[in-house]
C-alpha cells in the first residue's frame, strides 16, 4: 500500500475546466474523502488517479512514484463505483474472486488462498452466506456490498471508492457506514472516497477535501471542516438543516458596531470583530457588507420578545424532525431556519421572535449564490 499525492493537477475538457490546479497529499493508510456536489470534479479526480483519464497538467504520485505515464493496471489501485455492475451469470463468489483472477495476477494466488481472501472480505461485510447465489437473488443493499467486496478483495496500493453506499436506504446506509469504517481500520490501506453526503464524510474520514467546481475549498479533519469552515461553500455543505447565510450591512454608530439586514434585523456585535469583518467585507450601493453564517440550532425562537436584539418574523413553514421542529422564515434573498422544541406548535403566518446567538456567528467572504 502507498499514499497518493496530486501536484497542481488541472483537467480540461476542451474549454471546460473540470479540475483547477488541485493539490493534496494523502499519506499511506489515510481515509481521505472528496466531498462536494455533483459536477465538482470528485469522480474526475479518482479517474485521474486510476489512470482512466490523463490530466491536462500536473503530476500524480502513488507512493514515491510519479504515475502519469503508467497504465491503469500498473498503478495497482482498486476502484468501486456507485452502480454495482455485477456479472449476472456469475455467483457472488465468482463475482468477488474475479479481480484476483485477472490474467496478470493469475499465478499469485492458489485456489485455497483465493477462497481465504474471499471469505475474509465477505465475512467483514456480512455477506458470507450468499456466496452461491446469483446477483438477481440479492437485494439492492446486498448487491452493493458484493460490489464493495469485489473492489476490496485485492490488496492494492490504494482503494478508490466512488459513492459506494449512495444507493442504500437510510437505515442500511447507517450500518454500511460503520461497517466500511471498521473495514478500513482492519485493512489499513489508503482509501480515497467520493461522496456528496457530509455525514458520510464526517463519520468515515481521517481528512476531508471539500471541492467546488474543480477548485479545492478546504482540506482538514472532520472537526476542522465542521467547526471552522474556511468558506461559505464549506459551511453550507456541513449540516442538516444547513447553516443560514445572510448578507448584512456593517454599521458604525456612536462608537458601536451593528449588523443589519434592512427591515429585518439589527443587532450590536463586539468591536473586536470589526477588523476581521472588514477584511472580508465588500461595498454594495455605498454600504459595507459582510456575509454572516449562523447554524439553525443557534437561532433562538420564542413567542415573547426575548431581548432588544430579537426581531419579529412570520413563519413561512414548519417541518418536523425527530428531535426538534425546523421553522423556516422568508428573507429577501433566501430562507432562514431555526429550531424549536416539538411541543411548540407553530402555524404558517404565526409571528414569532427570532434572535441570533452572537457567540456562534461565522463571517465569510461572499462566494456562493444565495437562493430560495
Amino acid at each position: 500500500m502507498a499514499g497518493v499525492k496530486l501536484e497542481n493537477v488541472t483537467m480540461k475538457y476542451g474549454n471546460m475546466v473540470a479540475l483547477n490546479n488541485v493539490s493534496f497529499d494523502c499519506p499511506e493508510g489515510e481515509f481521505f474523502t472528496l466531498l462536494g456536489p455533483s459536477g465538482a470534479g470528485k469522480t474526475t479526480t479518482l479517474e485521474l488517479i486510476a489512470g482512466i483519464k490523463q490530466p491536462t497538467e500536473g503530476q500524480i504520485y502513488i507512493g514515491d512514484q510519479m504515475v502519469n505515464h503508467f497504465t491503469p493496471e500498473d498503478r495497482d489501485v482498486a476502484m468501486a463505483f456507485e452502480n454495482y455492475a455485477l456479472y449476472p451469470q456469475f455467483t457472488v463468489y465468482d463475482n468477488i474472486a474475479f479481480p484476483l483472477r485477472a490474467p496478470r495476477r493469475k499465478k499469485e494466488l492458489t485456489p485455497i488462498q483465493e477462497k481465504e481472501r474471499v471469505l475474509e472480505i465477505t465475512t467483514l461485510l456480512g455477506i458470507e452466506t450468499f456466496l452461491d447465489r446469483k446477483p438477481d437473488q440479492l437485494s439492492g443493499g446486498q448487491k452493493q456490498r458484493v460490489s464493495l467486496a469485489r473492489a476490496m478483495v485485492r490488496r492494492p496500493q490504494a482503494y478508490l471508492l466512488d459513492e459506494p453506499i449512495a444507493h442504500l436506504d437510510a437505515k442500511l446506509k447507517i450500518s454500511a457506514r460503520s461497517t466500511l469504517k471498521q473495514l478500513a481500520h482492519q485493512l489499513g490501506t489508503t482509501i480515497l472516497y467520493v461522496t456528496h453526503n457530509y455525514r458520510e464524510a464526517l463519520g468515515l474520514s481521517d481528512r476531508i477535501m471539500a471541492i467546488s467546481k474543480g477548485n479545492v475549498e478546504q482540506i482538514g479533519t472532520p472537526e476542522q471542516m465542521y467547526e471552522t469552515p474556511a468558506t461559505d461553500f464549506v459551511a453550507r455543505l456541513m449540516g442538516d438543516p444547513p447553516i443560514n447565510l445572510v448578507d448584512v450591512e456593517i454599521v458604525s454608530e456612536n462608537d458601536r458596531i451593528f449588523l443589519q439586514a434592512e427591515g429585518i434585523f439589527r443587532f450590536p456585535v463586539d468591536k473586536g470583530l470589526l477588523s476581521r469583518m472588514e477584511e472580508i467585507s465588500w461595498e454594495e450601493e455605498g454600504k459595507r457588507m459582510v456575509r454572516i453564517g449562523v447554524r439553525p440550532k443557534n437561532v433562538r425562537i420564542s413567542m415573547e420578545r426575548s431581548s432588544d436584539n430579537a426581531f419579529e418574523l412570520p413563519v413561512y413553514v414548519t417541518v418536523r424532525e425527530a428531535k426538534s421542529t425546523v421553522v423556516t422564515f422568508e428573507l429577501t434573498h433566501n430562507f432562514f431556519l431555526g429550531l424549536v422544541d416539538n411541543d411548540l406548535r407553530l402555524k404558517v403566518g404565526d409571528k414569532v421572535w427570532v434572535e441570533i446567538d452572537q457567540n456562534n456567528l461565522y463571517f465569510f467572504k461572499k462566494s456562493v449564490e444565495l437562493t430560495k
Partner: protein, 365 residues
C-alpha cells in the same frame, strides 16, 4: 375540503394475494396524513383504491360521509401525483400543468396565473417551455406534482412524489408541499416509505406492514409510544436498539450483558402475565447513557466504530455479537476497542413481547 374514511377495506389480487387486510382509518378535514411502510406493505394499493384506480375488494371508502366505491376517479374531486410521472410528452411543461384547468374550462388568464404561481413554488419557472422528455426525473416528478396541486382539489393523493429528487431539492419541495397544503386547506394523503418524510410532513401517520395497519398516531406517538417492535424499529434513525431481557418484577427487567445480567428499572408496570418471561428491551440510540467507567446496572459493550457527525458522535457497539448504536455528545471521547457501560433512564426503556412483538408498556394503541 373533505373527510376521508376507510372502513374494513380489503384488497385481494387474484384468488389469494392479500395486499390490504381489513384497514380502517379516518382523515379529518384539512388533515395531512401519511401512509408509511416498507415496499409491499399495502400503502400504495390503499391509495390507488382511494383514487378509484383499483377496485375495493371488500369494505367501504367514504368522502365526506358518502360512499365512493363506485364513483369513477374523475367524479371524486381528487388530485393525484405518483412516483412515475405520466406526463403528456407532446405538451410543454406549462401545458402539462395547465391541462386539468383547461379541461375544466377555466379562464386562460386564471390558468396562466395559477400555472406560473405553482411553477415558482416548485422551482419549475425556468423549464416551463420545455417538453417532459428534456427534463430530469426529479423535474418531471415536480411537474406531475404541480399538475396535481394546481387544481385546488378537495383531496390530494400523493404517492412517493419526491422519490426521484436529490436531497437538497427534496428538503425544499417537502417544505413547499406542506405550505401549499396549509394554504389550499385540502385533505392530503401521502404515501411514503421514508419515515423521515412522514415525520416531517404529516399531522397523523398510519404505519402499515404486510397489509395491516400497525399503528396510527402523531410523530410523537410513534416515536415515544410505539405499539409494537415493528413500529419501534421502523420510526427513528438510527433504529431503536433491541436487547434480550427477562421480566424480574413489575418495574424491573434483567438485561443480558456478557457475564451476569444487569437490572434495569422501567417506568410503567409490566403486566403480571409476563412475570419471569423473556422479553425484548428497546432503547433508542439517542437515549442511551454511556459511561467510560463501570456503573451499577451498566451493560458492558465494546466500541467498534466511532463516527464524528458534527453535532454528536455515533458509536457502533458490540454486545455478544449484537450490534448496538448510541448517539453521544461531542465531548464524549472514546476509542475503538475500548469498553463502555450503557444504562437508560426508566422512562426511555421500551418492553416488547418476545413472540408477538407487542409493546407491554409505554405504548398508545
Amino acid at each position: 375540503m373533505s373527510t376521508v374514511e376507510v372502513k374494513h377495506v380489503w384488497k385481494i389480487y387474484g384468488e389469494d394475494v392479500v395486499a390490504v387486510k381489513d384497514v380502517n382509518f379516518l382523515c379529518e378535514n384539512e388533515e395531512f396524513v401519511a401512509l408509511l411502510g416498507p415496499s409491499g406493505c399495502g400503502k400504495s394499493s390503499t391509495l390507488r383504491m382511494l383514487a378509484g384506480l383499483e377496485e375495493v375488494t371488500k369494505g367501504e371508502m367514504l368522502f365526506d360521509g358518502k360512499v365512493v366505491n363506485d364513483l369513477s376517479p374523475r367524479d371524486r374531486n381528487i388530485a393525484l401525483a405518483f412516483e412515475s410521472y405520466a406526463l403528456y410528452p407532446p405538451l410543454t411543461v406549462y401545458d402539462n400543468i395547465g391541462f386539468p384547468l383547461l379541461a375544466k374550462g377555466v379562464d386562460k388568464r386564471v390558468i396562466d396565473q395559477k400555472v406560473r404561481g405553482i411553477a415558482e413554488d416548485l422551482e419549475l419557472t425556468e423549464v416551463l417551455k420545455r417538453k417532459p422528455g428534456k427534463l430530469s426525473g426529479g423535474q418531471q416528478q415536480r411537474v406531475s406534482l404541480a399538475r396535481a396541486l394546481v387544481r385546488d382539489p378537495s383531496v390530494l393523493l400523493l404517492d412517493e412524489p419526491l422519490s426521484h429528487m436529490d436531497q437538497r431539492v427534496r428538503v425544499v419541495i417537502r417544505a413547499r408541499i406542506r405550505r401549499i397544503h396549509d394554504e389550499l386547506h385540502t385533505t392530503t394523503i401521502y404515501v411514503t416509505h421514508d419515515q423521515e418524510e412522514a415525520v416531517a410532513l404529516a399531522d397523523k401517520i398510519i404505519v402499515m406492514s404486510m397489509g395491516l395497519i400497525q399503528q396510527v398516531g402523531t410523530a410523537d406517538d410513534l416515536l415515544n409510544l410505539p405499539a409494537n417492535q415493528f413500529v419501534a424499529g421502523f420510526i427513528g434513525e438510527p433504529a431503536m436498539n433491541f436487547l434480550e431481557g427477562k421480566v424480574e418484577g413489575p418495574n424491573q427487567v434483567s438485561v443480558h450483558s456478557g457475564g451476569t445480567p444487569v437490572s434495569w428499572a422501567v417506568k410503567e408496570s409490566i403486566p403480571k402475565s409476563h412475570e419471569n418471561s423473556p422479553v425484548v428491551v428497546g432503547v433508542r440510540p439517542e437515549n442511551i447513557k454511556a459511561s467510560k467507567e463501570p456503573v451499577a446496572s451498566g451493560v458492558k459493550t465494546r466500541v467498534d466504530v466511532v463516527e464524528y457527525l458534527g453535532e454528536e458522535r455515533s458509536l457502533t457497539l458490540s454486545l455478544n455479537g449484537t450490534i448496538l448504536k448510541a448517539m453521544v455528545p461531542i465531548d464524549f471521547l472514546v476509542k475503538e476497542s475500548e469498553s463502555i457501560w450503557l444504562t437508560a433512564a426508566p422512562e426511555d426503556v421500551h418492553i416488547f413481547d418476545e413472540k408477538s412483538g407487542k409493546a407491554l408498556i409505554k405504548f398508545k394503541s
